[in-house]
Subunit: 734 residues, 2 copies
């Protein structure tokens, strides 16, 4: 069996369909491209904020506009871009902008609004200043060697007092950042015109009745319904359903469209609003005829670089449906679900980041989402108004650095990290603990009767982790003083966590403290996070595993959101066998009910259409929710067993655990390549494109490998170094 032959490279080919206006390429290709190809640039973070406003304000509920309830920020309207060039010969460049602009060479204004300028030979500075109130000021410059890219500097406050004689009196004190960009390489299509691409999709089945069509697209999907050969005069209503029941309930369906048609000639009509649905119930008045119905599927064109296959077909299906759920919810940004909110929720996005590292490894989707969530200073409330969601934002940066090794992002946005952490620290109570103040939402999870009173241990734990992120980021940003301070604060916070919440009697962290007293209540949340944060001693860990994780008397978790962490904690404790069964039960249970994408919540005790209800509404539940896709993460990190040990997979480990499977194989993407792993009960194969890895495994007999040295660690444990570019085949006995 040859590794490269057996690896199934499940690369979705959608990329190829979208090469005209916006070519989107994996991050490593993009990084090369920066040096050669002109791209639209802007003040970093501003386009993300602008686009997130566009996107999050597209939510409707039964036809009513339903915007977010937190502050939405805005771009800088006046921005200066510059770069210094050293040219061997004069060079003419073309200038395209989104906004009104002027041009300076060596700080001297060029007359008028030139579309082309010539930079003389030698060392010269080119400045372009753009004003745009409605859209993000954006620049595209193209010459023979001069191109606009992220190497340009940008500021919103140039502090340059310049008169027409060319005198510059003061440019000190101006903070310049690297320009932001995505991959908009067509000068004719400015960033504000960006739309995700679409492709036509046919219905699987159309049920035609008098004055009604019930269309089934065969699976959960997202995009714009197209009515073919629409003709006549009268009303047309579309009721969308993630389930057939929802589509057939015009009074309670979550999304709908009402149209007034007056069209004597038959014409195709594409609906304006994007919707999530599998079914569409179209009702129309007698004066109307509709020849056919199809849709335009809207998607973010990224390759799914991660793969997973094993001997268990149900698990393969779970992986595939998880991947499709991620595909649906990975859009302009990582959103919660495609039907209802379509907002960027920090807690939901945090899980998408982690899943993304084992699927598309699309770093721009991570940074776009982080920037949109963060918005601008001043910080006046928690992210999404939720205390925990502020902390997930920091944790997202911790992981982002670990998986990608990208220091520039942290260097550029360290000031926004500082202001957010200081906002949080300022909200600690007199005992230095996080406690919900007016306007703070302490969320944790959707769970019956979950107490948010007093000081909840979960929030202190997340703050500690956030402070660790700040310490790491301060180092990267060159703020030594900050690093020391945040390290100290993190250590204090961890100490407090155990001083205040650890119960010797219960051998677990309790849920909360109310009026200065430890409560009796033990919940899973802080206990499971403390496991994979590695905050417990080995003894505490084992105690928590028995007293909390595997204890049915402790309130059960019913959301895939928190199942994500519960199962991760169990995997981190080596319970892959147990977790595999749980996955087959829980995600397998959804598949048995016909799920084509994974849900916001699943309770095996519910029956029929009960599954679709949530928030007191008959079809309130989202049936395609990012946090439902966690098997991607669990299978990649804890079964294939691949995870970075230092930033950007410079070092990493591979610890394959079959967890009851006979064999498994898969690909885990890294910044500039892949790690491929095959594991059966007697053979492990591994090959990596970059970094230095450590393969760890157990074997009942002495393992064998060509071209490497296996080190015995005692207790049937072995270890082996993986060098990049080499393929290893290890024989062992599980």
């Amino acid at each position: 069996m040859n590794l490269s032959a057996t690896m199934i490279t499940r690369v979705v080919l959608m990329m190829c369909l979208f090469l005209t206006a916006f070519s989107m390429q994996p991050v490593q290709a993009q990084q090369q491209q920066q040096k050669q190809q002109a791209t639209w640039i802007w003040y970093p973070g501003d386009y993300e904020i602008w686009l997130a406003n566009q996107m999050q304000n597209r939510r409707t509920e039964r036809g009513t506009f339903f915007p977010p309830f937190w502050r939405m920020d805005n771009h800088y309207v006046l921005v200066d871009f510059h770069k210094v060039f050293d040219l061997k010969q004069p060079e003419e460049v073309e200038i395209f902008t989104e906004g009104q602009y002027n041009v300076k060479i060596d700080s001297k204004m060029i007359n008028g609004t030139p579309k082309k300028v010539t930079i003389p030979a030698g060392k010269h500075k080119l400045n372009i200043k753009i004003y745009n109130q409605a859209h993000v000021p954006a620049l595209y410059v193209k010459g023979n060697t001069i191109v606009s890219d992220s190497s340009w500097k940008v500021t919103y406050e140039d502090k340059e007092w310049i008169d027409a004689s060319g005198m510059v009196s003061d440019q000190s004190g101006t903070e310049w950042l690297q320009a932001g960009f995505w991959n908009f390489t067509n000068p004719q299509i400015p960033p504000s015109q960006f739309r995700l691409p679409t492709k036509p999709m046919q219905a699987a089945k159309i049920d035609r009745k008098p004055q009604s069509l019930v269309v089934d697209f065969g699976k959960e999907t997202f995009g714009f319904v197209k009515l073919h050969g629409l003709k006549g005069t009268g009303k047309v209503s579309l009721y969308y359903g993630e389930s057939l029941e929802e589509a057939m309930s015009p009074e309670t369906t979550e999304t709908l469209d009402h149209l007034d048609i007056n069209q004597p000639q038959a014409k195709d009509l594409v609906l304006e609003g994007s919707r999530a649905f599998r079914y569409v119930n179209i009702q129309y008045e007698p004066g109307i005829t509709i020849a056919d119905v199809s849709m335009l599927y809207e998607y973010l064109p990224v390759a799914e670089r991660g793969t997973f296959r094993c001997n268990d077909e149900q698990m393969n299906k779970i992986w595939d449906v998880s991947a499709y759920t991620m595909e649906l919810t990975t859009r302009e940004f990582f959103i919660d679900g495609i039907k209802r909110d379509r907002w960027i929720w920090s807690g939901d996005a945090y899980q998408s980041y982690l899943m993304n590292y084992y699927l598309a490894f699309d770093s721009p989707s991570v940074t776009r989402t982080l920037l949109a969530l963060r918005g601008k200073d001043p910080v006046t409330s928690h992210i999404n108004t939720i205390m925990d969601y502020t902390f997930y934002w920091f944790m997202g940066i911790y992981d982002y650095y670990l998986y990608t090794g990208d220091k520039t992002f942290i260097q550029q946005f360290y000031p926004r990290m500082q202001s957010l952490i200081e906002f949080s620290l300022d909200r600690r109570n007199k005992d230095g603990l996080m406690e919900g103040l007016a306007g703070d939402w302490v969320f944790i999870d959707w769970a019956d009767g979950l107490s948010k009173q007093g000081e909840v241990s979960f929030e202190q734990l997340l703050l500690a982790r956030s402070l660790e992120t700040m310490a790491l980021s301060a180092e990267i940003a060159g703020d030594q003083q900050g690093a020391a301070r945040y390290n100290k604060l993190a250590a204090e916070m961890k100490k407090k966590l155990f001083d205040i919440y650890w119960s010797d009697e219960k051998q677990a962290l309790v849920h909360s403290r109310v009026e200065g007293k430890q409560t009796d209540n033990v919940t899973r949340y802080s206990n499971m996070f403390a496991i994979f944060f590695d905050y417990f001693t080995e003894k505490q860990k084992q105690a928590v595993k028995q007293n909390v994780l595997l204890n049915d008397k402790v309130q059960k978790i019913t959301t895939p959101y928190m199942r994500f962490y519960e199962l991760e904690a169990l995997c981190a404790m080596g319970e892959q066998d147990y977790v595999l069964k749980e996955m087959k039960d829980y995600w397998g249970g959804m598949l048995d009910l016909g799920a084509t994408s994974f849900w916001e919540k699943y309770d095996p005790n519910e029956k029929g259409a009960e599954h679709y209800a949530m928030y007191g509404r008959e079809f309130g539940k989202s049936l395609s929710h990012a946090w439902g896709a966690s098997p991607i993460y669990l299978l990649g990190k804890y079964y294939l067993g691949v995870k970075p040990l230092s930033a950007g997979y410079n070092t990493y480990e591979v610890v394959p655990v079959l967890g009851g499977l006979k064999w498994m194989e898969g690909t885990v993407p890294t910044p500039n390549g892949d790690i491929k792993v095959y594991c059966s009960t007697n053979q492990i194969k591994v090959k990596a494109d970059e970094g230095t890895g450590t393969l760890r495994f157990k074997s009942k007999s002495k393992p064998k490998v060509k071209g490497a040295k296996i080190i015995s660690k005692g207790n049937n444990e072995y270890e082996m170094t993986i060098e990049k570019g080499k393929e290893y085949v290890v024989s062992y006995k599980s």
Copy 2:
């Protein structure tokens, strides 16, 4: 002589011309109107920021876009408005918005996007939430009794978690402000469509030559040139001149327009960009014919309530030309000058506020300008990047409160005052002094060789005054702790000012300290401000008057900007005779040179077209500059002698000083009326519509009056109480 007959009420009638789209009325009428008439409302300060961006980015220099070099802020894109109504009967209201919106009654969303809703009888809450990226979200609601006005509350962060079943889970922690408004009462014309009104004006003289027209409008003016009967194919160029020399210098004129005309049928063309000019030199190619030229004069329609007349015709002319200069520079905001920057400069605006209190008393122009200058948090640089200009902003609030008594403005914007003062305090050096840091512009004045090194006394003085403003504002905003802190800081700062800068040898404040040492240099700036801030002892004051103000060896002031304060300080010392001569020399000097509005700078030693040069450019100087209009302020405050003693003219004083005139008379506007004063060498007449005044004057013989009691203060000084609504005629001997 009857008072009402002799008073010349110089009320410009332009108001009447502008009643269709935007009716602008004096502040007291506007305040009444709030209760009855629907008006467009928005998040307070946001429209001002948006409009200031529009306006300040209209600057061009010889056809090139020339934007500001400081950060321009932006509006909140998603805003929620609400008001609670208690209705006797159900009421239908119409809803107009600028932006996408939804409507809630009692926190329950109404389906769709209703243009009309009915509020039931009883107590109910109406919420309207609006999203607009390009323009400021704005609302207009009109019912029988329900109207949108400043009594509505507004927030950018509702923190309201509401689902479609109508459940509101949390609205605490949301900060609601009173809605902002101007006077846009037409629901069909949303705020983004606002333009200042225009009226047609004819040329005084047109000099027609082959392929050229030189048009003289008879005086400095502002607006849009109109070419009548324009016909043909070819280029047309317009060179604008505040002077004839400038218009006739196509290579160096500051503003110009180039047009490409292709118009077979004769048609009128109004130029797109507004320009400042008296002369326009129009050059066109042979294929073009132009029948006639006129212009549309653009203006802010406010009444000039303040008046001044005296026996000296030159002084009357100075007052009139000052008033016209103010009219030209009082636009959407108080701007510096109409030709060049057309930006909102805090130091320039500060003088406009003061002049405005003696001319139009248009409070909305003051608050619009203050809000536009302040922008949003976070503060990242001084206002206009200039340290002194930050402090003038605070001083502007001090005076605004004193003259208008408006507490709401301070209560609403106290947080923005806090963040700006804290920014400044954070920039003090280790000795607690303001010193220019990277990016700070220490301006003070345009003066040759003026040192900005080390710590300049002038900046410490302005900081002290700003801290006094903060203490006062903290009281008004109910922040007792803040009031105590700012009072303490102000006292410390004043003590430092004298400890560090007062020179016993020179009997004056020195200019600066460099490397910890008092410099030898004495300048006028801090000395003259300390006089009218009343920071000196009487002894110090007299010493400073002799050693600095009246000392020709101390560097002279050449800008009308600082002449403003120099002459104010002299007036405050009772030197009205001297100041009158100075005014006749300096402003009279400009009139003698044909000025029809007052200039940015005037040096009597210059000749001919030398007067038009500045900043190293042949026509760089602005010939219509707000800070040139200071006689309005000086004549109203120090000759008619009217000034408030407590907020909003609740108490005030009238101290007429002829300063060498034979007689003078005039009107000083107050929040809800006027104070009219006549004074000759033997008679004083005074009448006030509100407040309680004190008339103070000197008389060589015992004065007489009917209906009041004159109290002798000794030393030929007398005092009398002025009750509102009564007219007093005092006989005295000057």
